[in-house]
């Protein structure tokens, strides 16, 4: 508890700084790029709760993200729900899916679990494609509400996403430092030993899949208002699966800082590459960085930092 309050304080300060930044309108592009990077901070952090802490690799990130986004689309279309409702609802629906895959862990471990989540993503995408109400395969245009704070909707979304990122990171940090996080680490190291030491492994796994699903859904919920056009291919893009995995790997998976570093670094690189290199080389960089990191720095940047510090 002694450490939670200062962390909360830091979080509030970050959000306030974001709001200040939003009112200043330094350079609108930064909000757009920043939104995407922050969205990846949420995604990477959420993935890491299950994948990094608990050791269960989820390939189905796009399914959760898209579920958040499409829940929002549905609510916008049906009842014109306000953004906070979208975020909470998107999170809850995705959390339900998370709970579902949590029960898969009863029988499936390792690669089998990952493949099952991949299959899940395909099934869900097909459902959305065939659901005309949310646009089906044609996609759907979403019109933003008028009169947002800060005069520009994306600037507003940026601050919202900043808030969500802070919440996600605080949640991840809280889990990491609570008995839950330690229990997850124990079951990642050795599930049998953890169970025998009194760790309620099933309950922890269900908790992790649910909260991870919730945060992934939360990351997807504002997406319709950001792009204003949602279609299955981009909502279920493989990029989310790759980045959700790659960012924590690059940063380091055992601590909440890792996904944040990874998301900021890789996310920024991608944003920069998009507007500078403008070709396939852009994607090539992501691939090469990924391979280089897993081969040369298996513990991620945090591991590198630790190693360097250890040496000094």
């Amino acid at each position: 508890m002694a450490r939670t309050l200062p962390a909360l304080g830091v979080g509030v300060v970050v959000v306030l700084a974001g709001v200040a930044l939003a009112t200043m309108r330094v350079n609108p592009y930064l909000y757009f790029a920043g939104y995407v990077i922050l969205q990846y901070v949420v995604i990477a952090t959420a993935w890491n709760i299950l994948g990094g802490y608990g050791g269960y690799v989820n390939f189905g990130t796009p399914a959760f993200f898209a579920l958040g986004a499409y829940t929002a689309v549905f609510l916008i279309r049906s009842i014109k729900a306000p953004l906070p409702v979208l975020i909470v609802a998107g999170g809850l629906v995705a959390a339900l899916l998370g709970l579902g895959i949590g029960y898969l862990t009863l029988r499936l471990r390792g690669t089998f679990f990952s493949i099952a989540t991949l299959a899940l993503s395909v099934v869900l995408q097909t459902m959305i494609i065939n659901w005309e109400y949310v646009g089906g395969s044609r996609g759907i245009s979403v019109i933003r509400p008028s009169g947002p704070p800060f005069g520009n909707y994306v600037v507003f979304l940026f601050t919202v996403m900043l808030g969500l990122a802070v919440v996600a990171v605080l949640v991840a940090r809280f889990i990491e430092r609570s008995w839950i996080g330690r229990g997850l680490a124990a079951l990642r190291d050795n599930e049998e030993a953890a169970e025998c030491m009194g760790v309620p492994t099933l309950r922890l796994k269900l908790f992790a899949t649910t909260i991870s699903g919730f945060l992934l859904g939360v990351a997807g919920a504002p997406f319709p208002y950001y792009v204003t056009f949602v279609e299955p291919n981009s909502a279920f893009a493989l990029d989310y699966a790759v980045n959700a995995l790659a960012m924590p790997m690059i940063g380091g998976t055992t601590s909440w800082v890792g996904p944040v570093i990874g998301a900021v670094l890789l996310g920024t690189t991608q944003q920069l590459a998009t507007v500078t290199i403008s070709s396939e080389l852009n994607l090539l960089i992501v691939g090469v960085v990924l391979v280089a990191f897993v081969v040369l720095a298996p513990e991620g940047i945090l591991g590198l930092v630790r190693r360097v510090r250890g040496r000094i």
Partner: protein
């Protein structure tokens, strides 16, 4: 028999076509030092896997402290007080030695949020305090065994099942572990010892049950066991 702390009745376990345990019954009294021996592959480890909840049983009942625990998941049994150590140490490799103890302390022992002091106390008692901040990968064999025991102790057991805690250790180290186990027993913890090192089992146990090929073949005090022809046959062969 109802005064037993742990009672196993008619326990049967199959692996495919292989009958690993056949109608095994044992009863362990509170505070007892209980030995479980048998040649390699006789089913000792399978038996304790069933008792600790790592394996589901195919038949029979397990009662602990007057309560039927046959269907309970392993972590619930641990919380009730049945704690085991593993034959091949299974430490939590990403955590320090101290944090390894934290897991059972906050999950099994009563009262969450135990601080490092409890863990440190256990480590001191077992002689691992100096290594508290190392990762398990940096431990020697004996230290690894001690960690395994220390972690089990941190779960505050009523019944400690020590599965071959001494395999591969030197004479002096075996004595070291024995001393620890005696001390725990003196504190009121019931102990089941599974061991190949006869010298240790014979010295430690008040009562011994012998398994052979998944069946219970003998029970008695160490003296009785040594003189039992069936046991000699099981060990020395015909």
């Amino acid at each position: 028999m109802s005064d037993a702390l742990l009672q196993v009745e008619g326990l049967t376990k199959r692996f495919g076509g292989f009958l690993a345990l056949n109608q095994v019954s044992i009863a362990v009294k509170p505070g007892e030092r209980f030995g479980l021996i048998g040649p390699n592959g006789s089913g000792k480890t399978t038996l304790i896997n069933c008792v600790s909840g790592s394996l589901p049983v195919d038949g029979g009942h397990i009662t602990f402290d007057g309560r039927d625990i046959t269907a309970l998941p392993a972590h619930r049994r641990t919380r009730l007080g049945i704690v085991r150590s593993f034959q091949i140490p299974k430490p939590f490799t990403s955590m320090s030695v101290l944090d390894n103890l934290g897991i059972p302390l906050e999950n099994a022992a009563h009262g969450r949020g135990a601080d490092g002091a409890d863990a440190m106390q256990i480590l001191e008692a077992i002689g691992l305090a100096a290594k508290a901040h190392l990762r398990p990968a940096g431990l020697t064999q004996i230290e690894m065994r001690k960690l395994e025991l220390a972690r089990a102790m941190a779960a505050r057991p009523k019944l400690l099942i020590s599965d071959e805690a001494m395999a591969g250790l030197s004479s002096a180290e075996v004595d070291d572990i024995l001393t620890i186990l005696f001390r725990l027993n003196a504190q009121g913890i019931t102990i089941i010892m599974i061991e190949h090192i006869m010298r240790a089992v014979m010295r430690f146990s008040e009562r011994i049950v012998v398994l052979d090929a998944g069946e219970r073949i003998a029970e008695g005090t160490p003296d009785e066991i040594v003189r039992n022809p069936a046991v000699e046959k099981a060990y020395l062969g015909e």
